[in-house]
Structure formats: structure tokens, C-alpha cells
């Protein structure tokens, strides 16, 4: 990557899974595409370590929340495409709800004035 903005945040343990599931919500993608999409949709704030991406994909696949198949990319390269399963979709809903609750709770604790974060 050519530029490495200093204000990028390393992903917290466990957050990568949700991000992957969310990214796959709108259709299948390959690993590089997933990493790129997370980075872009977080306005380059979230840095996806490529090294942890693939073990995470592997983990989700084992849990059968996503499936994978080799396909061909738009610029004609062989790539392994990942797709959300029905169970993965349910999981995403649950995880999103959990995150909302966590974020609200964190905001309340950290912002003692009661102002919203």
C-alpha cells in the first residue's frame, strides 16, 4: 500500500468476522475485494491485516457462515469467491445487534456528561 495513514486503527479481536459478514451482504467477493471494501467503507480508518483475513475467512467457512468457490475476477484472474450463507445472514443480524448495544454502552460509560457519542 502506498500510503499508510497514521490514524488507522488495528481491528479489535472478533470485529473482523462481523465486518466480513457485512461486506458479503451485497454479494460474493474474493479476499482481496473484502479487505479493500472494508478499508474503503470505513474511509480508510480500519486497516485489515491481510494475514489475519484469510484465517478469519477459514474460520467462518468452517462455521458454515460463508461458502467459498473458485471463480474468475473482472480482470480475468482466478480468485476464491466467498458468499454469505443463510446461517451467516442470521449471524450478521445478531452480531449487528450486539455491536449496537456494545457501542451504546461504551458511549454511555465513556461520555459521562450523558451527551451522545
Amino acid at each position: 500500500m502506498p500510503t499508510q495513514p497514521k490514524d488507522r486503527i488495528e481491528l479489535l479481536q472478533g470485529t473482523l468476522d462481523v465486518l466480513i459478514l457485512r461486506t458479503l451482504l451485497f454479494g460474493k467477493r474474493h479476499g482481496q475485494g473484502i479487505a479493500r471494501a472494508i478499508q474503503q467503507s470505513s474511509d480508510d480508518v480500519l486497516l485489515v491485516d491481510h494475514g489475519s483475513l484469510y484465517p478469519a475467512l477459514q474460520r467462518l467457512e468452517v462455521k458454515r457462515w460463508i461458502t467459498a468457490a473458485w471463480g474468475v475476477s473482472e480482470n480475468n484472474r482466478r480468485a476464491r469467491y466467498y458468499e454469505l450463507t443463510k446461517r451467516g445472514r442470521q449471524r450478521l443480524v445478531e452480531e449487528t445487534r450486539n455491536w449496537q448495544r456494545l457501542v451504546q454502552a461504551m458511549a454511555r460509560v465513556l461520555d459521562l456528561d450523558g451527551a451522545t457519542a
Binding site: P2, H50, Y54, Q58, A79, R80
Partner: protein
């Protein structure tokens, strides 16, 4: 191995990474306008350590701990195969060590630890009669019936007390079945015995009602052994009418296999059936007959029970009653207490052996670790964590220990089986086996060994500077020195422990030597014996006497027979005592022997005064007796015993001869007062053993005796001709066994210690090759170098021996009860053992020393 069984291939994952990098590079070219080569490089760098990711992927789809184990075990096997010699040696000594440990522990377990097969066995006590003081043959220490009745009815410390009749002898009875006659052995017990012990018949029922009364119908319980051997384990035997001694009897039940009277109280004996012994005035008249076993009442202590029994026994001095001095001991103590010291000794010894084995192997693995420093350094440089390295070394030692343990267990199974079969005069040996408890101990021992052996070399790792090691010829001097201290310490320990074992074995060997040198008072060599009383009954005692006289004459006429005689008891076996009155009311209870003329000569007893019995000492002649010197000295200390009369049941014989003492009870017990009475004048004897002596070996003699007896009466079971020497040897067989085992352990320890010295000295000579080369180059003579190395050897050995002698001196006191005729501080043993060790040590040091003296300075320095 994936959690789901269907595994994604590593190759597939690599492809995916490849594709990722390509896609990222494409993007960089497209979006950032990079040069393709530069883009590819950047994409790869961004991805990070590909190998690491692949490894993480690899780990994510496998059970890594299992994978590591498999790889470590595979690696361990490979490296052990590379050092095949070491592996074989280690497996062998570990196997021997563990085999010996497990065997000894199995015996200790069976003899001392496992509870007796009775209900609540800790509450059972053995009650014997201490009338003649302690240290006597227990078969004499019996109690009269009325005392038992008192204990049962009056003593409150006991829930109940039962008795074993002690005077049934092997093969006294005859079982007739389908025309065949078998000699069988009975045991008489009081009817409550089985309820006191908590033993229930495996089949049928215990004795009941009339069967337990005088004159009641004869009911018997078969022992498990007899049920299997005589009745083919037929469960239909219960209720069957059989014929014992030509009288009808009913089998009411079969005892469980766990009820092994012989194995418990009289090692080597086999009881065939049990019959009730009634408690009545009739049986009271037979005198001291019973050994008692009581069950303590709840809350009663053995001391309180002993006090109560003593006061009861003292109070009832009335009617036709012999003295009773109750001696109580826990039943388990009675059964195997006599072997406690020996078993503790062997357990201790085998533990020392195991420690030596461990020290030896630890040393070996340390040396091997030194030669493998480079290999370990390479592995560390390639990214193996210290944890992985330790893990791998532990695996290696676990594999080694596993091999050794497997071999050890096989040896132990063979060893315990041998023990159980041989018996060797030990009680409860039929229960010696490798059981769950023993296996548990083995696994525990193996685990400890694994850690000791694995961690020692592993700990070294922390002191190894890998960078230094990788340099050609580099040597980390400091760790080398510390290691040298550890290795020397291990060898010194080995020598010290071996020295302790050698001293112990030496003391037992010397004891056994003294024991075999003991003048028994008779000559067991070149004499054989066979039991000749036929199973049928005689019409009169005259007929019986005639029969035996004829049998005796037949044997005397046989070729090769030099002398022959009859006796009712053999040495080291059954015995009994009767009390007599001598001069001035001195009373004494000598051992009673009923013998024929010629017995003294056949047995090799030395007549010191008077004469042997002869043909004239018939039933109608004046009753006569022969006494031994101990009896003569006790009754007539100041006068000649000849022509004195002794008042003894049922006659008052006159002493016509005096023989020297005879060790009749046990080899290690002095001769005690004995009286011999002629068989033709005394009808109170049960068995008749013929003893024949030849001038040459017993081999031809046995055949000759057998032929003569068969010709005389084919019904005599001549198969059982025993050499008298064997009877004596059998009586000391537990002692011999302990001595042999300890000697074996000590020998093994000696070999291990000398190998340990050899290994350490050779290693140090190899390490010092260059130094030796320089010394030679500077003019040192080969002899000087050799002396130098030998001095180093001697320093280790002397230190070890000094520690060992000190340790042995501290521990030898524990051996005292097992010694005979030597002091625990026996100077000969304490001088010999260290000398043997030093000699062997010097021998072990000599080979490397002479190698050192032959070092070629040019090659040594060129290296």
C-alpha cells in the same frame, strides 16, 4: 486433521494467497499508477510473511497439539534410530530397572499392602500361646480348647474367637473315589471360623447343627484347589456323599479361592478340605491344639484385648488345663509381618537401583545433548521456540521411557508369575501379580523418569549460546564446566548408591554363608527321605510296627544304602512338644521325636554318650529314651543323664543315650531340648518317614530306595522321595531369595556405576584431546597422561565410595533383623565392598586412560 474431516489442501490456500497478491498488484497499477514489478513487490510486502500465514492456516485446520506430538514422536523415533546403540542400552537398563521395581513392588503389594481377603481384616487378631516365650516355632504355640471357650463366652474385647487345629498334617487322610485312593490334607476349624473371618462358601453352605458336634455326621467343605483338582470343578459336588478314611462324609460346600490357609499361615502347604472341630470336654483332653483368631469388638484395642485375655487365662487354672499366655498380633502381622523387614529392604534396594538407572541415563543423555548442541542451535535459528525444543526433548525421553517401561512391564509380568509359581516359602505369593495399583505406580515412575531424563538436557538449553555453538569448533566453556559438575555429581551418586547396595548385599551374602556353614547337628547330604505309612489302617500297633520293621529291613538290604531309620517328624517341618518332669521337679517341654533304631545313623546324629535304640527295645522291654545335650543340661546340669527316668506321657522312659544338639526347628535356631523315643514303645505318632543314607550321592540312592519299597508294598507313594538337603534348603529359601535378589540388584548397580564412570571419563578424555596433544607435544609421557586420567577416575570413585560407605553405615542397622552371624557393621563387608567398587572403577577408567595416553599430538592439534 480438520475438525470436520474434510480438509482444505494447503496447496489451495497457497493459490488463494497467490491470487490475492496478484489482485492487489493489479489494483496498485490501476489506481496508483505503479510499475507492475513495483506493484507486485508492494502487494507482497503488504501481505506480510506468507510462510507465517500459511503456517497459521496449517495450524487452523489441524489439532495442533496432536500434530506436534506426532511430529515430535516421529522426530524422536528418527533420532533414537540414529543412535541405535544408545536406544538399545537405555531401553535395556530402563527395562531391567523398571521390571525389577515393578516386580518387587508387586510382591510388597501382595504381602504387605493388599488387605487380607476377609471382612474388615484390620479387626482380626491372631492369638497364640506364648507359654514357651517368643521366637519359637509357631506350630507349638497352641491353645487348649477350654481357653477358647472362656474367650468366647467371657471376653468382651472380642466379638467372637475361632480356632484352627494345628496338628493336621499333609496327606494324613485318604479319599476313595471310583476305586482310586488319594492322600488328602485336612484342616479342622471351629464351626464359627468362617463367620469370624467373614468367609462364605462359594458353593453350598457352612457347617451347621449336628455336624459341628462330637460324634455328628462328617461334613466337609472342599477348598477351591481340591474342588478343581479332584472334582473337576463340578458344581454338582455339593451334597455328594464321599468316602474319607473308609468312612462316609458329605460335601456341604466349596470354599472360595481366596480362602488359602496354606498360602496365608503355612506357606507351601495345600489344604484339601476343612471339617469342623467341636469344642467339648473330649477335645479339651487332647491338649494344646488350637491357634486362635479373634475379631475385636467395636472400640476394643488390641492392647485391651490382650490384657483381658491374659487376665482370663490367668484366672482359669482349674480343670485339666495347660498354661496359656496369650500373645496377640494383628492377623496381617502374623501372616506376613515376618517378611516386612525383607520387603522393605528389597523395596529400598530396588529404588536405589532405579535411581542409579536414572542417573546413568541422565548422564548419557547429557553427553548426547552436548553432541547435539549444533542440531538444537540450527533448530532454534530456524524459529523453533524454546518451548518447542523442551517439548521435543521431553517427547524424546518419553519415547525412550515408554520403550523401557514396556520392556519393564513384560519383565515384571514374567517376574511376578515366576514369584507366584515358585512360592519360595513366602506367604500370600499366589496373589503376586501386576494389578491396577502396581500399574499406577509404574506409570507414575515412568512419568517421573521421563521428566528427570528429559528436563536435564532441556534445562541446559537455557545456558547454551546458540550463536557460539554454530561457529565451527566454538565451545561454550562456562556451560561445559557446569555440565561437568553435573555429570561428575551424577557419577558420584551412582557410585555411592552402588556402594550402599554392595554393602547390603555383602552383609546378606555373609549371613547366608554363615547360615550354610552352620553345624546342623545332622548331615543332610547324601540322605533321602520318603513317607511310608500306608493309607490303610492296621489292626494293632504290633502289626503296624511289624510292617515298618519289614519296610525298613527291605531298604537296608537295598544296594547303596548305608544306613536307614524311621522318624515321625522331619527337620524344618512339623513339630510338637510335650512337657516332662526331671530331677528336683525341673520341668521342661522338649520336642518329641518318635524314631526307630538306626535313625541316628541315617540322619547323621552324633551319639555322645550311651547307646542307640536296638532290636531289644521292643514293646514289652523297659521303656527307653535318648535325649539331646540341651535337654540333659537343662534337667541334670551336674550329673550324667544316663539311667535317669523322665516322666513323660504315657510311660516314664529311662535315658540310655545322649546325642549332640540338632537344629530341628530352623537352621538359624539353636538346638533346643529334644527327646527321642523308640517307635515300638510309643504309639502316639501319625506319620512315618523313612530316612536312608548312602556313602555316595543321593541320585542312585533315591532309585534304590524306591525300588526296595515298591517291591515291599506297591501302595507306598514312592514318587515323593526327597533329598534331606533339599528340605533344609527349602527352609532357608526366603532368606536365599532375599539374598539373591539383593545380590542381583547390587551386581546390576555395580555394572551401571562402572559404565557411568567409563562414560564420563571417556567423554572428558575426548573433550581434552587437544589438551592431551599439547601436553604430549610439550614432553609429557604417555604414562603421565594415563596416571592423570586414572587419578581423575579415582577422585570420583573415592568420593562416591566415601559417601556410599557413610550411607551404608547409617542404613545397615535397618538390616539387623535379616542378618545371621554377622554384625551390621561387619568390617569385612565394609572393607570389601569399597575395594570391589574402586577396583571396578579403575578398570572402567583404564580404557579411556590408555586411549588418552595414545593421543597423537599432530592429529589432535590439527583438529
Amino acid at each position: 486433521m480438520s475438525p470436520f474431516g474434510m480438509r482444505r489442501p494447503d496447496r489451495d490456500f497457497a493459490d488463494e494467497i497467490e491470487s490475492h497478491v496478484a489482485l492487489e498488484a493489479d489494483r496498485l497499477v490501476r489506481e496508483e499508477g505503479m510499475h507492475p514489478d513495483e506493484a507486485r513487490y508492494a502487494a507482497t510486502r503488504a501481505f506480510g510473511n506468507v510462510v507465517d500465514h500459511q503456517e497459521r492456516f496449517y495450524e487452523s485446520v489441524r489439532w495442533m497439539w496432536l500434530d506436534r506430538w506426532i511430529r515430535d514422536i516421529r522426530y524422536a523415533l528418527r533420532s533414537l534410530r540414529r543412535d541405535l546403540g544408545l536406544t538399545i542400552y537405555a531401553t535395556l537398563i530402563l527395562g531391567l530397572g523398571i521390571g525389577a521395581t515393578v516386580t518387587v513392588f508387586s510382591v510388597t503389594n501382595a504381602l504387605l499392602l493388599r488387605p487380607l481377603p476377609f471382612d474388615d481384616p484390620d479387626r482380626l487378631v491372631w492369638i497364640s500361646n506364648g507359654e514357651w516365650g517368643r521366637g519359637q516355632a509357631l506350630s507349638n504355640l497352641t491353645v487348649q480348647v477350654n481357653h477358647l471357650v472362656d474367650l468366647r463366652t467371657l471376653a468382651r474385647s472380642f466379638t467372637d474367637v475361632a480356632g484352627f487345629h494345628q496338628f493336621d498334617r499333609d496327606g494324613d487322610h485318604t479319599l476313595r473315589m471310583s476305586g482310586e485312593a488319594y492322600r488328602i490334607t485336612r484342616l479342622r476349624v471351629t464351626e464359627n471360623l468362617f463367620s469370624v473371618l467373614g468367609v462364605r462358601p462359594a458353593l453350598g453352605r457352612p457347617f451347621a447343627g449336628e455336624e459341628t458336634q462330637d460324634g455328628g455326621p462328617l461334613a466337609i467343605l472342599l477348598t477351591h484347589g481340591a474342588w478343581v483338582s479332584r472334582f473337576a470343578a463340578d458344581s454338582g459336588v455339593v451334597g455328594r456323599a464321599i468316602t474319607i478314611d473308609d468312612a462316609p462324609a458329605t460335601v456341604v460346600g466349596v470354599l472360595p479361592a481366596s480362602f488359602d490357609y496354606g498360602g496365608m499361615f503355612d506357606p507351601g502347604r495345600r489344604i484339601d478340605y476343612v471339617q469342623p472341630f467341636p469344642l467339648s470336654e473330649e477335645t479339651n483332653r487332647t491338649g494344646n491344639t488350637l491357634a486362635l483368631v479373634g475379631r475385636l469388638a467395636p472400640g476394643a484395642t488390641i492392647e485391651a484385648a490382650a490384657a483381658e485375655a491374659t487376665s482370663l487365662a490367668g484366672r482359669s487354672t482349674s480343670d485339666r488345663r495347660n498354661a496359656f499366655v496369650p500373645v496377640l498380633q494383628p492377623l496381617h502381622e502374623r501372616v506376613s509381618g515376618g517378611f516386612r523387614a525383607a520387603m522393605y529392604l528389597l523395596t529400598g534396594a530396588v529404588t536405589l537401583v532405579m535411581l542409579i538407572v536414572c542417573a546413568n541415563l541422565a548422564n548419557l543423555l547429557l553427553a548426547r545433548g552436548a553432541t547435539r548442541e549444533k542440531e538444537v542451535a540450527v533448530r532454534a535459528a530456524l524459529g523453533a521456540s524454546r518451548r518447542r525444543l523442551v517439548h521435543q526433548m521431553l517427547t524424546e525421553s518419553a519415547v525412550l521411557t515408554g520403550l523401557g517401561t514396556a520392556l519393564g512391564l513384560l519383565l515384571a509380568i514374567a517376574g511376578t508369575r515366576l514369584f507366584a509359581d515358585l512360592g519360595a516359602g513366602l506367604p500370600l505369593v499366589s496373589g503376586v501379580r501386576v494389578d491396577a495399583a502396581v500399574l499406577g505406580i509404574t506409570v507414575a515412575a515412568a512419568t517421573v523418569t521421563t521428566f528427570v531424563l528429559g528436563l536435564l538436557p532441556a534445562l541446559r538449553l537455557s545456558s547454551v549460546a546458540f550463536g557460539e555453538t554454530l561457529k565451527e569448533g566454538g565451545r561454550s566453556a562456562s556451560s561445559g564446566r557446569r555440565q561437568g559438575v553435573v555429570r561428575n555429581g551424577l557419577v558420584v551418586t551412582e557410585v555411592a548408591l552402588a556402594c550402599v547396595l554392595l554393602v547390603g548385599a555383602g552383609l546378606l551374602l555373609r549371613s547366608f554363608g554363615k547360615l550354610t556353614d552352620v553345624d546342623l547337628g545332622f548331615e543332610p547330604e547324601r540322605a533321602v527321605t520318603v513317607r511310608i505309612d500306608p493309607s490303610r489302617r492296621f489292626e494293632s500297633s504290633e502289626q503296624r510296627a511289624l510292617y515298618f520293621a519289614a519296610a525298613l529291613q527291605g531298604v537296608r538290604d537295598a544296594p547303596g544304602v548305608h544306613a536307614a531309620g524311621l522318624t515321625d517328624v522331619l527337620p524344618m517341618a512339623f513339630n510338637r512338644r510335650w512337657c516332662v518332669q526331671g530331677l528336683e521337679d525341673r520341668s521342661l517341654c522338649p520336642y518329641v521325636r518318635v524314631v526307630s533304631d538306626g535313625y541316628l545313623r541315617a540322619m547323621g546324629l552324633l551319639l555322645t554318650a550311651g547307646r542307640d535304640f536296638d532290636e531289644a527295645d521292643g514293646p514289652d522291654a523297659r521303656p527307653v529314651a535318648i535325649v539331646n545335650e540341651a535337654m540333659a543340661a537343662a534337667l541334670w546340669p551336674d550329673a550324667s543323664p544316663l539311667e535317669r527316668t523322665v516322666s513323660i506321657y504315657p510311660v516314664a522312659p529311662t535315658v540310655v543315650g545322649v546325642v549332640r544338639g540338632m537344629r530341628h526347628v530352623a537352621v538359624d535356631q539353636e538346638a533346643e531340648p529334644e527327646i527321642f523315643m523308640p517307635m515300638r514303645q510309643q504309639s502316639d505318632y501319625h506319620a512315618v518317614h523313612l530316612i536312608a543314607r548312602s556313602t555316595d550321592g543321593p541320585a542312585g540312592l533315591a532309585a534304590s530306595v524306591r525300588a526296595a519299597l515298591t517291591a515291599f508294598d506297591p501302595a507306598i507313594p514312592v514318587a515323593d522321595v526327597h533329598v534331606v538337603q533339599d528340605i533344609v534348603s527349602a527352609s532357608v529359601s526366603p532368606r536365599r531369595l532375599v539374598m539373591l535378589l539383593l545380590t542381583g540388584f547390587a551386581g546390576f548397580a555395580l555394572v551401571l556405576a562402572s559404565l557411568g564412570i567409563y562414560a564420563v571419563i571417556s567423554y572428558s578424555v575426548t573433550q581434552r584431546r587437544r589438551e592431551m596433544g599439547i601436553r604430549i607435544a610439550l614432553g609429557a609421557s604417555p604414562a603421565e597422561l594415563r596416571t592423570n586420567v586414572l587419578r581423575q577416575t579415582l577422585r570420583l570413585a573415592v568420593l562416591g565410595v566415601a559417601l556410599g560407605v557413610a550411607g551404608a553405615a547409617a542404613l545397615a542397622g535397618l538390616l539387623r533383623s535379616l542378618l545371621f552371624g554377622v554384625a551390621a557393621s561387619d568390617p569385612i563387608t565394609f572393607m570389601t565392598a569399597p575395594l570391589v567398587l574402586l577396583g571396578v572403577a579403575l578398570l572402567a577408567g583404564y580404557l579411556p586412560a590408555s586411549r588418552a595416553s595414545r593421543v597423537n599430538p599432530t592429529t589432535a592439534l590439527a583438529q
